[in-house]
Symmetry: C2
Subunit: 488 residues, 2 copies
């Protein structure tokens, strides 16, 4: 299967918005607004015979009235209007169209027949279609937010295709809140024409894409997904979440995208052999994206753990051992080096337990010693990025003046502390660069993952050790795949 | 094993703070400050021969100088000073002491010997000890924040014991951010005297505790944990996270609390037979706490799913089927009822897919029909509590005035929308009450779980469907245990 160059789809210079609407409750309005407010770098031409202008932009009665060549048509008309539009697009020489419109193969035989006719109509002119039943695309290079929800993804090096629009766009939104940035995104809809295999191949050869995420429901054997994946995963990691793994889930998928879920076990096996990393939760998809985009791969499966609390260290060891990662004991020479930074009663083992030291300073010193030790390939740094959560130090406590003063002082200390870990993260970032080993930070609790400064320093953080371990395991799996298949 | 009444430990009228300090970097200062700023309802007496007053409170040179009876001693002195203090406590008639001090059995044979002598010293007077090496306790009734970190847990009906101080207190802090409230908490430390079995039994008979969480590392067969658990779990759910499941994890646990991790498989089996629910991640511990404290149990394992997006529905079905929950198809009569609320092309199945309806109204109507259907025992409501995330609708976009106006309008709409779901949650709360069925809300993304209004309406929400399904599965397991062992 040859690659289809999708540059003009993802980074068009000109867009025709067919079905543009002046009604704020119509997708033809909302998507246009999203494009315009997103500071899209190209030009948009609203097309609607009933309006003179929409959102202050002149409206064109027909495609042929647009005075310039058009790279991309976005279609939000009713389903019955889509077929005749293919001729208009073809005559205008438009190479790509995104069909947002639903009510095609996902609704049954009648819709499927209409979908086939639309695709045949497009093929006559060589037009390639996204969808129908797509929620749109995003592209960071041209600031193109041609999608249904009003979201503004962070920019990054992850590209994603999704056979579920909702799941996909919510990953973008969730990523924006957690500091995970995207390069390109496509909601592939019913895949009447372009399929996830086409997007996968394109992302695979796209210089700006370093990591590929995918949500899959149905895979048509004809689309050759596995050989494409095999080729691409030698170049960059592909992480996939598969919906419709069970019979009941597969049935739900069939009524949703019109796709057949296929035999999951066979599929799973084929993807694994192709080097694709499968995750089992939506959270893990984003978690993996974050780490693969920001962290070097570990050379092996030996993990060093550093912690501020014994219990967290224990469960991190358990999670490692249960996920094919090893936590080797410390040799004497490393113990000796750590001795000079830690109280005499420290545990002298891996995990390195800082035993409730309050200051930050020993943490970075110990982390450095641990990371530089050649007996490990990766580090999980528990509590490294920690800011003290904003525990409500009430200023309204009644009591003697020294108590009131102390509460105020403590509040200031906590506020101050909360601003501090930037230099820690900077230190960790440098340590990763120097050693080439991944250091995964764990900051317990929900606030940890929102922090933009983590993103800034390219330090990867998760709110629980179990999530960090699962990600590290996936990185190790990918490393093994590369070691086995790519010459050094 | 008889129950030990721990009322005066958790809800003391008077506390002696032995080792109270005027140095803000000492635990004897920090814990005292936490107690005082937490508005503790009783009296605290700082004890320190070198100070006249601390934080504005008069300081007593010795315990015997305190003019009132003392319920609880909190000890933060160096380890070597603890043994002689037992005599002083005994002579003062103090029934409970919390030994925060570390450097006991967790550091080796010498520390273990000292610990045994301290416990023997306490036994002479009938003093019961928490710790040593404890991070303290919390109790909502007396507003007692006798713990090392400066946290203010939410009040609720969950009580927790933890063999890891850090893991335990961070659950409290995390809970405060996610709206999960606690009744009592104890960091059991090395368990030189009182053990988790004692706390478990006490919580089991405590009227204010509805759900018990526990973090366990080492379980001494002599402490009779399993028979106690068996008795208590007939009355209220016990959810446990076990650290030291693997050989390496068990080794780390031994150097941490001085406990032996034991044979995990045997332990796991015994706990399961005793009706204890084991979770496999720290996140799941809090997730379960939230649901068991706020939701009725399902009568069976049949789940109805309602969703705003097909893909999320598909992966929810998969997660259900993979966790022994069933997603039965809808009978005609329910389809008919739903027909009148949904567009004609809706999928007519379970999951009920709202097919991108923008308004909230059909959601609650459809949820009601689904929940009231006698073919299901529980509902997972995807996107019910959703507020549109605060996508940055930049007001600085340059463009024609109608565009600028539309962006402002859209911002207002989103802001307004974000405030709205309260009435949805109120409706869901009432529906749960009326039907007696659990409805678990899923709001994708990290912001969802922080919302205090969820807490207010006793509606339980998670940021991913997979987490919701795991919780529902635990609730179903507990229901089966009760059905098998409790007469109706």
């Amino acid at each position: 299967m040859a690659e289809i160059n999708l540059d003009r789809l993802f980074n068009p210079k000109t867009i025709a918005m067919i079905g543009a609407s002046a009604n704020p409750r119509k997708w033809g309005f909302i998507i246009l607004l999203n494009i315009l407010k997103g500071n899209y770098s190209g030009k948009v031409f609203p097309v609607n015979p009933k309006e003179n202008s929409i959102l202050g932009y002149p409206c064109y009665p027909k495609l042929s009235d647009i005075p310039e060549p058009v790279d991309l048509a976005i279609i939000t008309t009713p389903a019955t209007a889509v077929l005749p539009l293919m001729d208009e697009c073809g005559e205008k020489g438009i190479p790509f169209a995104i069909v947002i419109t639903s009510d095609f193969s996902e609704t049954g035989a009648e819709g499927a027949a209409l979908e086939r006719r639309v695709v045949a109509g497009a093929r006559k002119y060589g037009i390639r279609l996204v969808g129908p039943n797509s929620m749109g695309i995003f592209s960071s290079k041209t600031n193109l937010h041609a999608q249904m929800p009003p979201l503004m993804p962070l920019h990054g090096s992850i590209s994603m295709f999704s056979q579920s629009g909702n799941l996909g766009v919510q990953m973008l939104g969730w990523g924006a809140e957690e500091g995970v940035g995207f390069e390109k995104f496509v909601s592939s809809g019913n895949e009447g024409d372009l399929s996830c295999a086409d997007y996968l191949r394109y992302f695979g050869n796209d210089q700006s894409t370093e990591v590929i995420l995918g949500y899959l429901e149905g895979v048509d054997p004809g689309m050759n997904l596995v050989p494409v994946a095999r080729e691409i995963s030698l170049k960059k990691p592909i992480i996939v979440y598969k919906g419709g793994r069970t019979a009941a889930g597969g049935h739900a998928a069939a009524t949703h995208t019109g796709a057949m879920a296929g035999q999951y076990r066979i599929f799973e096996c084929a993807l694994r052999q192709a080097g694709v990393l499968e995750v089992m939760t939506s959270q893990a998809l984003l978690d993996c994206g974050r780490a693969f985009a920001n962290c070097p791969l570990p050379a092996g499966n030996r993990v060093g753990i550093i912690t501020r609390g014994g219990g967290w260290g224990v469960i991190t060891v358990d999670a490692c051992e249960e996920n094919n990662l090893k936590v080797p004991p410390l040799p004497d020479e490393i113990v000796k080096k750590l001795d000079s930074h830690l109280p005499k009663y420290w545990s002298r083992g891996n995990p390195v337990d800082l035993v409730a030291t309050i200051a930050h300073d020993p943490y970075l010193d110990c982390l450095e010693i641990l990371t530089e030790w050649d007996g490990i390939d990766a580090v999980i740094a528990l509590g490294a990025g920690r800011r003290l959560p904003n525990y409500p130090y009430s200023k309204e406590v009644k009591g003697p003046q020294p108590l009131v003063d102390a509460i105020q002082m403590a509040s200031l200390y906590i506020d101050d502390h909360a601003k501090k870990p930037d230099w820690m993260l900077e230190g960790i970032g440098k340590l990763i660069e120097r050693t080439g080993k991944p250091i995964i930070v764990v900051s317990i609790g929900p606030e940890a993952s929102h922090r933009s400064n983590l993103y800034e320093f390219h330090v990867v953080s998760y709110p629980t050790p179990e999530r960090a371990v699962r990600v590290l395991w996936q990185m190790y799996r990918y490393r093994r795949f590369l070691d086995a298949h790519v010459g050094s």
